[in-house]
Every structure is written in structure tokens, then in C-alpha cells.
């Protein structure tokens, strides 16, 4: 099976979390504790809770889910 790049895993996880209904705090915690994204630690550490909340809103308003 084709192994996903780290960036692809990160983007998948982020979109999964933002569309999950979790709170911004829960999303931040999930990203910060996911061992796969250790090399993104510094990047994720600077995430602003307000902006994660906005991203969740954007997801609710504009996201079109993939057809299963």
C-alpha cells in the first residue's frame, strides 16, 4: 500500500479534526499530542485558538465532503 507523506497525513488529520465537531481546544490538543507530527511541533505550537475556531466555522460553511 502507498505510504502517505507526512504533509498528506497532517492535512488529512487536520481536515478530519476541523470537521469533527470537537472544540478548538480539543483540536489543538489532538494535533499537539499526535506523535506523527512531532516535526511540526513548532508550527503547531503557534496555532492561535481563535483561528482554529474560525477554521471550524469555515469548514461548516464551505466544506463539501467527499462522496463515499
Amino acid at each position: 500500500m502507498h505510504k502517505q507523506s507526512l504533509l498528506a497525513q497532517y492535512q488529512d488529520a487536520l481536515q478530519e479534526l476541523l470537521s469533527s465537531g470537537l472544540t478548538h481546544d480539543e483540536i489543538l490538543e489532538a494535533l499537539r499530542t499526535d506523535s506523527r507530527f512531532k516535526s511540526y511541533d513548532e508550527y503547531i505550537k503557534q496555532f492561535d485558538p481563535d483561528m482554529v475556531a474560525v477554521a471550524c466555522e469555515l469548514m461548516g460553511k464551505w466544506a463539501k465532503h467527499k462522496e463515499i
Partner: protein, 294 residues
């Protein structure tokens, strides 16, 4: 003062009745010198009525039609079948109508369970850079014209704000492309992150700006309480004074602007007052350009 040629002032076409009502007077008086079209809207089921097609064909023939993609998701890590189909559609559209250039939004939306949506910031690393360059090459191949990227309003944090300009520069340089500088997006980042506007503007490759966008937006509550409110690029209100101020500044900093486009989402100006406000915003930009390029 700028010594450059005055850019064409235009509108982002919305295939909605309120847009038609608000802009009829502007089109009739030949004030609209350019038209921007989000050519991938029909892929989302948006119907293009005959009055829209007539405008598109008219501006295309006048060499004043610009294309603005919404759903490519140029920085998605995985190249999908949906993106492949999007590019094939785009290729056909750009064969059927002549566009001056084509732009897209910096960022990604397709990943995990999401097919497309609002663009989000990416980690600005070597992998994102490689993926973005490859996608811009595909976009250039499909459109057979110069392509560009629009700066993003959204940022997860200050690093996204500070590094976006240089990263976009590296991406567009790979295809000899251009920067679509959205002034409301700049305003959002200034308002949300407290970055000085001149410092932020100067972090972008300003000589590569071929197009400006102006729009309005709205404020959301701050969940963290760390700021009074969060500025959002919602395109559902009039242009704020701060964005007009940036429009007056831009010609001094960006010597190669060819198009200035006013944007507002369809169905957000259904009453006569907001339609009048839209026309007044257009006329204010017109006055700024007259003064700046006198």
C-alpha cells in the same frame, strides 16, 4: 504618484439577481473595464444564465476577462482525481473563452474527508513548496496563460502571516506567475495579528502584483478573549475605510498592477441600500485610481 498605466477597474461577476440589480447601472454607463469570473462555479452546480454568458463573452472579446479559480486546492499534498477533473474542465473553459490570466487561492482545502472548501494555510516547508510548484505548472498547462496566487486572509498563527509573502514568491517564480494581492486579506491579518501594514505589504513580492482585490468582511467573536474580535474575509459587506486606504497605498508600492477588482458575494446585497453601497464602493475605487494615476 505612480507613473504606471492606470489599471482596469472591474467586478467579480456573481450569477445572482442582486448582483445584476446592483451593477446594471455601472455596466450601462461603461464604467466596468474588466470582469473577473470564478470559472469553476458551474462545477458546483451554479447555473450560468444568458445575461452572465453575454457579459463573459463581451469582456473576453475585449481582452478584459480574468479567471479566478476557487476549488483547485493547489497545496493539497495528494493530487486527486477531483483535481485532475477540475484541470480538464478548466482546460476546456480556457479554450472556449479568452482570459487575460488565471489565479487561484494560496492554501489547501482538499484532504481527509473534505473534497473542497475554504483554503487553509499549510506548513511552509520543502514538501509544500514542491507540491505547489507542480500544481501551478499543471494550472499553467491547463489555462495556457499566466497564472497567479492570491494571498490568504486566513492564518493559523503569526508564522503563517509573516512567511506567506516569501513562500508565494517562491511558488509563482516557478511559473513566472503573478501575485493577486487581496487588500482585504491584508487588512484581516493586520487586524488579527497586529502586524504593521507596511511591514506586511513589504513581505510580499510587490513588483509581481498584477491584480488587486478589494472587498468587505465581518467580525467574529474571539473565543480566546485575546483580541476584541476576529476579522473575517466574508465578502458580505461594504469595503471598509482601511481597505480603501490600502488601495491608495498600493499604486505607490506595486508598479505593475493591471486589474483592480471589487468583490462581493452574491445574495448579500438584496436590498436597494446595500446595492447603492456597492456602487459607491466602486466609485470610490474609481476616484482612488484617478488620483493615483493622474
Amino acid at each position: 504618484m505612480s507613473n504606471s498605466k492606470k489599471p482596469k477597474l472591474g467586478l467579480s461577476l456573481m450569477p445572482t439577481d442582486d448582483f445584476r440589480q446592483a451593477t446594471d447601472e455601472l455596466f450601462q454607463s461603461n464604467k466596468v473595464n474588466a470582469l473577473e469570473w470564478s470559472f469553476d462555479l458551474p462545477l458546483n452546480g451554479v447555473a450560468v444564465e444568458p445575461w452572465c454568458s453575454e457579459l463573459l463573452n463581451k469582456y473576453s472579446e475585449a481582452n478584459a476577462l480574468t479567471g479566478h479559480g476557487v476549488n483547485l486546492s493547489p497545496l493539497s499534498a495528494q493530487f486527486s482525481e477531483r483535481q485532475e477533473a477540475w484541470l480538464a474542465y478548466t482546460q476546456q473553459e480556457f479554450k472556449s473563452r479568452k482570459y487575460v490570466h488565471a489565479s487561484e487561492h494560496f492554501g489547501f482545502s482538499e484532504a481527509g474527508p473534505i473534497a473542497h472548501g475554504a483554503p487553509l494555510a499549510v506548513p511552509m516547508n520543502a514538501e509544500s513548496l514542491h507540491i505547489g510548484k507542480e500544481m501551478l505548472k499543471r494550472y499553467t498547462d491547463a489555462t495556457q496563460c499566466t497564472v497567479g496566487l492570491e494571498n490568504l486572509a486566513f492564518a493559523f498563527g503569526l508564522e503563517d502571516v509573516k512567511r506567506q509573502g516569501d513562500f508565494i514568491d517562491q511558488l509563482i517564480t516557478a511559473v513566472d506567475g503573478f501575485l493577486l494581492l487581496d487588500l482585504h486579506n491584508i487588512y484581516c491579518q493586520v487586524a488579527n495579528f497586529g502586524v504593521p501594514e507596511l511591514e506586511l505589504l513589504n513581505s510580499y513580492p510587490l513588483s509581481k502584483v498584477r491584480e488587486l482585490h478589494l472587498s468587505g468582511g465581518s467580525w467574529s467573536a474571539s473565543v480566546s478573549g485575546s483580541r476584541a474580535a476576529v476579522r473575517r474575509d466574508t465578502h458580505d459587506d461594504g469595503v471598509p475605510q482601511e481597505v480603501f486606504n490600502l488601495a491608495a497605498l498600493a499604486p505607490k508600492l506595486c508598479p505593475n498592477i493591471e486589474f483592480v477588482i471589487l468583490e462581493r458575494l452574491g445574495n448579500t446585497m438584496t436590498d436597494p441600500e446595500s446595492q447603492q453601497e456597492f456602487r459607491e464602493d466602486f466609485e470610490t475605487i474609481e476616484e482612488i485610481l484617478e488620483f493615483s494615476y493622474a
